[in-house]
């Protein structure tokens, strides 16, 4: 069980690092929102599942899974609201120059 939780946590760290690189490198709000919402949610899922496996059955595992469900509601809602506000306030999506 210990090995399994370590594998899950390392996979989650990989996705979190990919999300951080995306936040630095991508050119626009609309493309950065993918890095923040999608990749970040997957990394958080893998990492919290790994920690819950390390805790074992019990109240702590249930609480960690509740936090995970909360995170899966909160992250897409905030990304959607921010991107909709950006679009309605007149921001143009990024396009490649001289194509």
């Amino acid at each position: 069980m210990e090995i399994l939780s370590i594998i899950f946590i390392v996979a989650g760290l990989f996705f979190l690092i990919v999300a951080a690189i995306g936040v630095i490198r991508l050119p626009d709000v609309f493309s950065r929102s993918h890095a923040v919402s999608l990749t970040d949610s997957l990394g958080a899922f893998l990492m919290l599942v790994g920690i819950a496996l390390h805790e074992g059955l019990g109240t702590n595992m249930l609480k960690i899974l509740v936090v995970l469900a909360l995170l899966y509601i909160i992250n897409p809602v905030i990304a959607h609201a921010t991107v909709r506000a950006a679009l309605r306030s007149g921001l143009k999506p990024w396009e490649k120059e001289n194509s």
Partner: protein
């Protein structure tokens, strides 16, 4: 396992610094809101890993739940305000 968790904590703190760069640098204000959302996700994970490290998970999970709810209310308020008002 404790040494591994310590390395995970250090790596998460470095990732917080990356998102902080986006918050300070971001060209528009929406970049800053998205960066704050990423920082709060990292902080939730950081609090739970810290709870496992100090063997007090039952206390730290409650703190992270409160942090997630505060983040939801704050970011939604900022987004709705900017949607009505337009880019400052």
């Amino acid at each position: 396992m404790k040494i591994f968790l310590l390395y995970v904590l250090v790596l998460l703190a470095i990732l917080l610094g990356v998102y902080l760069y986006r918050v300070l640098q971001g060209p528009t204000i929406f970049d800053r809101v998205l960066g704050l959302n990423g920082i709060s996700t990292k902080a939730i994970i950081l609090l739970i890993v810290m709870g496992v490290y100090f063997e007090r998970v039952d206390m730290f999970v409650d703190i992270s739940t409160g942090y997630a709810l505060l983040n939801l209310v704050g970011a939604l308020a900022v987004a709705k305000y900017l949607e009505r008002k337009g880019v400052p």
